[in-house]
Symmetry: C2
Amino acid sequence: MQISSRFSVAVHVLTLLAVTPVGELLTSDRMAGSVNTNPVVIRRILGQLKKAGLVEVRAAAGGTYLRRAPADITLLDVYRAVEVVEGDLFSIHDKPNPKCPVGRNIQVALDDTLRRAQAALEQQLAGVSVAQVAAGMGELVG
Amino acid sequence: MQISSRFSVAVHVLTLLAVTPVGELLTSDRMAGSVNTNPVVIRRILGQLKKAGLVEVRAAAGGTYLRRAPADITLLDVYRAVEVVEGDLFSIHDKPNPKCPVGRNIQVALDDTLRRAQAALEQQLAGVSVAQVAAGMGELVG
DNA sequence: GTTATTGTAACAATAATGGTTACAATGAAG
DNA sequence: CTTCATTGTAACCATTATTGTTACAATAAC
């Protein structure tokens, strides 16, 4: 199964905030308009980004703004914030037969490989910042 | 969400076949016993491995055997065979607002990065063979 | 022919996802 | 201090994937 679009929506939201003049706040309604979804979906994600310390959300007359410079937010930060994956990316069947040599050792044998695959993916995400994504907007708007 | 355990089960199954004397076949029942699941679950996965040309399955008195040397089957082959992911690993929200600069460009901007992250993961899987996993069994059985 | 086995359909339980409505709580602004 | 736009969150729904299960026809070795 694919990784949830929560992640791409979160990057979208942060990119919107990155291209918004400092001091200006965005409402979940405005962001939902750009993403083209329901404001509640945006607010749910904002809650996760807030918990991760990436944004500040003000109630009432409210809106959201970034708490870190866009260059200081990597896609890995976002990926982790939205908890698209809890713990390990790969799941391993949980109760292989311990009476079988393969059943007894498969989990440990796979663990290292799968962890390294996951790390390789995360390393790529860590190499890209929200600022870089936002820069991509500028170019193309040209 | 995590990647389905179909993948780890498939690796388990192929590892069982790899440590089985050449000429000997394994039934879905035997494999299910080692994985600790229902034989039908195994047969479904075998169908996918067969379609990918990794194993040969004989009906009737039947059973399964490898069609390639364990050293010639990478975990990427397995990953693709069980179609744990159809197409792209990351999903991107499909209808961002084209009237917004960010909505208009986010898909293209993210596409490259996410593809590279996926490629990094797959490259790791491509670097490990079923033979290597099977070797891990031997060590630990000691 | 008998028989063990595969291939597949059908069904159920569980869980995640994305969207929706509803509404209390917040707090800025008049 | 009242108003009001907005957030935070609960509740619900439809859809989908997953894993396990039963059932049974088709297969082919013996």
